[in-house]
């Protein structure tokens, strides 16, 4: 499996109209629910916020990586959202956030290890400023997939 296999068009929204962090997380969680990755939006969002309390997920350069380890996760996956306006978020550089990678991870770590590795690979790519800058510019899902598969 390749990174591109973990990127599901149904869970990507590159034009999110949201006012704040909570709305962004809830909308992306809704997409994960619709695509059958999680079975309950509320409990998933609750688990996301539990992780938020442990440390900030705004990694700078307008990127946030909230992630929930949650019993509501049925299938390991990721939702990707780009907001039309900068959203206030706790970040390491004090800027807001425009691009959100919401990781859905099962509490059972042995489960779907292959998919977990793909998430690690996606995170690795987010450590590359060149890739991040390209991701920030794209408005196209196909292009986003290309950037991740390069």
């Amino acid at each position: 499996m390749k990174v591109i296999d973990a990127i599901d068009e149904r869970t990507i929204d590159l034009s999110m109209d949201v006012k704040n962090k909570k709305e962004a997380i809830v909308q992306l969680a809704g997409r994960l629910k619709e695509a059958n990755y999680i079975d309950d939006v509320d409990s998933f969002v609750e688990d996301i916020y539990k992780r938020e309390e442990l440390g900030i997920t705004g990694i700078g350069n307008y990127i946030a990586i909230p992630h929930g380890m949650s019993d509501s996760v049925k299938q390991v996956g990721i939702a990707i959202g780009k907001t039309n306006n900068e959203v206030e978020w706790e970040t390491i550089d004090g800027n807001g956030v425009k691009l959100i990678f919401l990781f859905a991870v099962s509490n059972d770590h042995e489960y779907a290890k292959n998919h977990m590795k793909l998430l690690a690979e996606i995170a690795t790519k987010l450590g590359n400023d060149n890739i991040v800058n390209r991701l920030l510019e794209t408005k196209d899902v196909m292009e986003l997939k290309e950037i991740f598969s390069a």
């Binding site: 442990l54 990694i59 450590g127």
Partner: protein, 103 residues
């Protein structure tokens, strides 16, 4: 400089791997040799080789949790920072270490 490091974060899903990549890219662009082990939910990956540890000038531990296998670094210069430090300013950290070590 020759650097070895470990990256590990609270849930072992994302920050770990971002921190690793940031360290690798920064070190390489500054002309240093580097190996970074990740300790995440998928287990330990890119485990450090004894030779690399032996030859390293410094050990960078970028972690938000307790890492495993620190006894391997006995007698080594160890720099411990939270992952957000290497995510935010990897080159700054490496340059400062280099300065402190006088290398």
């Amino acid at each position: 400089m020759k650097i070895v490091g470990i990256a590990a974060c609270t849930s072992g899903i994302a920050h770990t791997y971002i921190a690793k990549e940031k360290l690798l890219r920064a070190a390489e662009s500054l002309g240093h040799e580097i190996h970074v082990e990740t300790q995440g939910t998928i287990g330990t990956e890119d485990e450090l080789q004894l030779d690399d540890i032996k030859n390293a000038d410094v050990v960078i531990i970028a972690a938000d949790i307790k890492v495993g296998g620190k006894e391997r670094f006995k007698g080594k210069k160890i720099v411990e920072v939270p992952t957000h430090v290497v995510i935010k300013s990897p080159k700054g950290l490496i340059n400062k270490i280099q300065q402190d070590l006088g290398l």
